[in-house]
């Protein structure tokens, strides 16, 4: 194995030690702590009132939309990082010159249009007023 892989060996050692510490303190607690289960203790905690609903149910679709936007914009960041690292070299006349700037601006511009679109569609709104008023608007239009 070449020496260029040595940092990755150190990374694996770090991850193993970090997971080991985390698991060790949890297992130690399981060994040291008492075990006195009771029906009230095992029930879901809802500030003392009886449980009327199960959490295993459908959830608001807005959380799903945020996750989708995250994927899009995080991949944008992921593509921007290699460009940023090489940016000064790309600006040299023998590589791309000032075209590197235009390429970067074009890439960010396309995603900015995407952001502007989801913003205009109201997909980023969370306030109750905004939701109800936009619903009222679409009702009025129909």
């Amino acid at each position: 194995m070449g020496s260029e892989f040595l940092p990755y060996v150190a990374i694996i050692i770090t991850i193993v030690v970090a997971v080991g510490i985390a698991l060790a303190i949890l297992v130690l607690n399981a060994v040291l702590g008492p075990k006195r289960p009771s029906e009230a203790k095992m029930g879901p905690f809802e500030c003392g009132s009886d449980v009327v609903d199960t959490p295993r149910k459908r959830i608001n679709v807005r959380f799903y939309a945020v996750a989708i936007f995250f994927v899009v914009f995080d991949i944008e960041a992921l593509f921007l990082i290699p460009i940023a690292v090489a940016y000064r070299d790309l600006l040299q006349p023998q590589h791309l010159g000032v075209f590197a700037l235009f390429a970067l601006l074009l890439f960010i511009g396309v995603l900015a249009i995407g952001l502007w679109y989801v913003w205009g569609k109201g997909a980023l709104d969370w306030a109750f007023d905004a939701l109800t008023s936009s619903a009222a608007r679409s009702d009025a239009n129909e």
């Binding site: 040595l6 940092p7 990755y8 060996v9 150190a10 990374i11 050692i13 770090t14 991850i15 030690v17 970090a18 997971v19 510490i21 985390a22 698991l23 303190i25 949890l26 607690n29 702590g33 008492p34 075990k35 006195r36 095992m42 029930g43 879901p44 905690f45 809802e46 959490p55 295993r56 959830i59 807005r62 959380f63 945020v66 996750a67 936007f69 995250f70 960041a77 992921l78 921007l80 990082i81 940023a84 690292v85 090489a86 940016y87 000064r88 070299d89 590197a100 700037l101 970067l104 601006l105 960010i108 995603l111 900015a112 952001l115 913003w119 980023l124 709104d125 969370w126 306030a127 109750f128």
Partner: protein, 344 residues
């Protein structure tokens, strides 16, 4: 396989994680309680004592540790036992593993793993913390837990984007994403007197990074996933050391954010205006490591101060800030940086 290398790496990992990070995290729990007490005109915890030694309440983290270890770690009925056990471990382990690429001093002896893509490693592994929040809240079979988990997951992914984009500007200025190269690049002086730190060349980037990473850490003013006093958060059903692990993770993450900010934006171990020539080599290295630790502690203090100064956001304000303010600002920051670099 080089056994000597592995032994030294293991030693470095133990020193960094156990001696430095976990100890500092434990002390920070004490600092947080005493500092919030000072801000609110109280005394704060100062009663724990061994013999006649009270040490200004410094024994409280130790007492907390014993208490957490000897409490019952029950699993509520209907919970997913496997995920319920793993969630706190994922949160703590992913945060601890990020310290592998932080350069604590000059040369590769003071870094556990000098990766070329160090910053990318931190972004990748640090994101695993979301699993701790989302799985922990969902697995506990509790409505409040689920609510906290959903809010936490949406908040973390929203601010993750801004955090990644803000580092792009720094990468562009210094032309690298290796943390040790970033620190070396910050050793120069601009116009002969101003240190070329990340915070000087990317001031907007630093402010946005600090806001986004504090939101990543789920601390006030961004503490909606847990909201100690009103909303019951994703660890509502967690007890004993399982809860304490989430609690400790929060403080380890403070140290991590401070370490990243010190490395990327405050020159790492570089001491400005100091000429290394003429000073004996050993002393200067010790001074540089000490200065780096000092920067980390100062940035931890800054985060504590912000946490106890600002009130909490409302949920729509939080999402608006992330998507409608921070994201456009960080895109604009990249555009301005790119234009300035092209002109110069």
């Amino acid at each position: 396989m080089d056994w000597m290398f592995m032994l030294i790496a293991l030693l470095k990992v133990l020193v960094v994680l156990v001696v430095f990070v976990l100890m500092l995290g434990a002390v920070l729990t004490w600092v947080e309680r005493r500092m919030s007490a000072l801000i609110q005109d109280r005394l704060g915890p100062n009663r724990a004592q061994i013999g006649n030694v009270r040490a200004w309440g410094l024994l409280h983290p130790i007492a907390d540790m014993f208490k957490a270890f000897t409490k019952e770690d029950f699993v509520p009925a209907g919970a997913n036992r496997m995920l319920f056990f793993l969630a706190p471990a994922i949160a703590l382990a992913s945060t601890l593993a990020c310290f592998a690429v932080i350069p604590f001093g000059p040369g590769e002896h003071f870094t556990i793993a000098p990766l070329d893509s160090g910053m990318l490693f931190i972004i990748a592994i640090g994101s695993f913390g979301i699993y701790g929040v989302a799985l922990g809240g969902w697995a506990s079979n509790n409505n409040f837990g689920l609510l906290g988990a959903l809010r936490g997951a949406a908040q973390l992914v929203s601010y993750e984007v801004t955090m990644g984009l803000n580092l792009v500007g720094v990468f562009a200025v210094f032309g690298t994403m290796s943390l040790s190269q970033l620190v070396l690049g910050q050793g120069e002086l601009l116009w002969g007197w101003l240190p070329k730190w990340g915070v000087v060349v990317q001031p907007v980037g630093f402010v946005l990074f600090l806001i986004a990473s504090m939101a990543e850490n789920k601390r006030a003013p961004f503490d909606l996933p847990e909201g100690e006093s009103e909303i019951i958060g994703y660890f509502a059903e967690f007890s004993a050391m399982r809860f304490a692990t989430f609690f400790l993770t929060e403080f380890v993450e403070i140290v991590l954010i401070a370490a990243i900010a010190a490395t990327v934006f405050f020159g790492g171990w570089q001491i400005p205006w100091l000429d290394p020539q003429g000073v004996a080599g050993g002393f200067i290295t010790v001074a540089q490591i000490g200065f780096f630790v000092f920067k980390i502690i100062a940035l931890c203090w800054l985060q504590m101060l912000i946490r106890w100064t600002l009130p909490r956001f409302r949920y729509d304000q939080l999402m608006n800030l992330g998507w409608k303010v921070l994201l456009p600002l960080s895109l604009a920051n990249i555009v301005v940086t790119a234009i300035v670099l092209a002109l110069s």
